[in-house]
């Protein structure tokens, strides 16, 4: 009873409603607003507008669909690369690093806490025509003349992988760290090769970390525009680039809003599709465990 009296005595805390108002006003309302904006068509006469799907139809041609597919490809390859490079690191940190673990973790978190633009900038020094890589290859005689490595698709991927690697490693590491080591030993004792142990024990058990790592890498790299813009030099156009152009340069917000919406829907659809495919595949090889 005393508890209830106390609650009555305290003044209602209106602060909590303020934070919900803030969240609603600056998060949910803008998201609804952009949907409204995308169906409005401005006409040449100011003050007159029509409601319709013409903004969406504008983007239903091959070049824009191609851009969405290209962004999908970029994000997917980036994820796979991050996984291939990141998994051994997470494994090493969780099981093999010993007393150097904290040092390695520190070295891994540090890039995550510094501005990614600085990393992109640092790569200029490696990839430029007079940069480190070109000079190194010259020194060993692989090439005769200095070459610049910028402005290529694979360089964009390299730098993106570099920037997103910690986002893949840390979730996998946090799952592997909690993994019972005895399970791995049991698998080895019962005669499984290390490859079999990896496929049937380690990988399925680290799946939850892999999922969140995948999400953390895939979603931002789908809409990435700064890295392709800086490294690829405006030659490669992705979803993020198109959105920026429509919103900031063209000044046609309605078209930009429509394209943002289309690409978000495409993103959600693609993620669901990939989960379904992945789930089917995992269910099949989970059966061996029974």
């Amino acid at each position: 009873m005393k508890f209830k009296e106390l609650i009555k005595k305290e003044k209602p805390f209106f602060g909590v409603s303020l934070s919900f108002v803030w969240q609603g006003l600056f998060f949910y309302l803008p998201l609804i607003f952009i949907i409204l904006l995308s169906v409005i068509q401005l006409s040449t006469i100011p003050g007159y507008y029509k409601i319709g799907l013409a903004n969406f139809l504008y983007f239903f041609n091959l070049s824009y669909i191609n851009i969405i597919l290209k962004s999908f490809g970029l994000a997917l390859i980036n994820c796979v690369l991050c996984f291939i490079v990141g998994f051994p690191i997470a494994y090493f940190l969780a099981f093999k690093a010993g007393r150097f673990r904290n040092l390695f973790l520190f070295l891994l978190i540090l890039p995550f806490w510094t501005n990614f633009l600085l990393h992109v900038y640092a790569w200029f020094y490696v990839l430029e025509k007079a940069g480190f890589l070109s000079n190194l290859l010259l020194f060993f005689g692989f090439i005769k003349e200095p070459i610049g490595f910028l402005n290529s698709y694979w360089t964009i991927l390299l730098v993106m992988m570099y920037c997103y690697l910690p986002f893949m490693v840390l979730p996998i590491y946090s799952v592997l760290e909690r993994l019972n080591k005895n399970v791995l030993e049991a698998s080895a004792d019962l005669g499984a090769s290390s490859l079999q142990t990896w496929f049937r024990i380690t990988l399925p058990l680290s799946l939850s970390g892999l999922k969140s790592g995948f999400f953390l890498v895939f979603v931002p790299s789908f809409g990435e525009f700064a890295i392709p813009g800086l490294i690829g030099g405006d030659k490669y156009v992705f979803v993020g680039t198109v959105i920026t152009q429509f919103i900031l340069s063209n000044g046609s917000m309605n078209l930009g809003a429509a394209f943002t919406l289309i690409s978000s829907i495409a993103l959600i659809g693609l993620i669901i599709a990939m989960y379904l495919v992945g789930y089917k595949y995992i269910k099949n090889f989970g059966k061996i465990d029974d």
């Binding site: 609650i7 934070s19 803030w22 969240q23 998060f27 501005n115 600085l118 809409g223 800086l230 917000m253």
Partner: protein, 262 residues
């Protein structure tokens, strides 16, 4: 033969990991080395000098954008921590928070560029001038998505009997909140605040859309510097920022709280 195979098996993982760490840190090392070079980049190493650091200290533009970033970061951190504390107070009073918290998870799930575009359109529609205010609004939305789960997770792990004891001994609810709950949450508040500050400080996408023309954050400044070409002043700036972040990471590791988001 088996010995060689075992040896290769033992050596391959550490070798791979050290190669990856080399890959991670080589560009940064080169960047730092060239910040001490006498001549600007395309020239090779000519001699040690601190002149780029002097130029960095003298540039008013960098300091202005640094000031903007710090002000925006501090206010976004402050606001998101205040939001979190008010929600926890509400929970203490018997409010059901668990389902309401789901309303805030969208902040990190929605791609940043979508959030940025919709905020920009919305704020222009309301004819709020782009600048400090819009930067703080957008960064607060992003930061609260990180601060809230961390602090709330810590709040759930607090022993509830401590709070009940305080109430039994005659403390009012707000007394309990300020004298018991907040001190217990202090390390997580500090860690979450640090994370929020660095996320706001390093944020590029939201600032790129919501900054307008008169408020320039440090990220935007670095972006425009890179666009206009390689300049050793950015190297000097990067070196300082790297030292700054490594100090923050050390404090964060010292607090020894894992950000449960990842």
């Amino acid at each position: 033969m088996i010995k060689i195979k075992n040896f290769l098996g033992n050596i391959s993982l550490p070798l791979f990991v050290s190669l990856v760490f080399l890959f991670l840190y080589l560009p940064l090392v080169i960047l730092i080395v060239f910040s001490f070079n006498d001549a600007p980049f395309p020239a090779p190493w000519t001699g040690f000098s601190l002149k780029w650091y002097h130029e960095l200290m003298d540039s008013p533009e960098i300091w202005r954008s640094f000031y903007t970033s710090v002000v925006v970061g501090v206010s976004a951190t402050f606001l998101s921590i205040m939001m979190t504390l008010s929600l926890i107070y509400y929970n203490l009073m018997g409010g059901k928070l668990k389902k309401l918290l789901l309303l805030f998870y969208g902040n990190i799930l929605v791609p940043e560029i979508v959030l940025a575009v919709s905020l920009l359109c919305f704020l222009t529609f309301l004819s709020i001038p782009l600048g400090f205010l819009t930067l703080i609004i957008s960064h607060t939305i992003l930061c609260s998505g990180y601060v809230l789960p961390i602090v709330y997770g810590r709040f759930l792990s607090i022993d509830k009997s401590v709070i009940e004891a305080s109430l039994d001994l005659g403390a009012t609810m707000s007394n309990t909140f300020f004298k018991i709950v907040v001190p217990l949450l202090k390390p997580s508040l500090f860690a979450a605040g640090l994370l929020a500050f660095i996320i706001s400080f390093d944020d590029f996408v939201l600032s790129f859309f919501c900054a307008g023309s008169d408020a320039q954050t440090l990220s935007l400044f670095i972006y425009s510097m890179i666009r206009s070409g390689v300049s050793p002043i950015v190297n000097a700036l990067s070196t300082i920022l790297l030292i700054f972040s490594s100090l923050l990471v050390m404090v964060f590791c010292y607090l020894n709280i894992k950000t449960k988001i990842f």
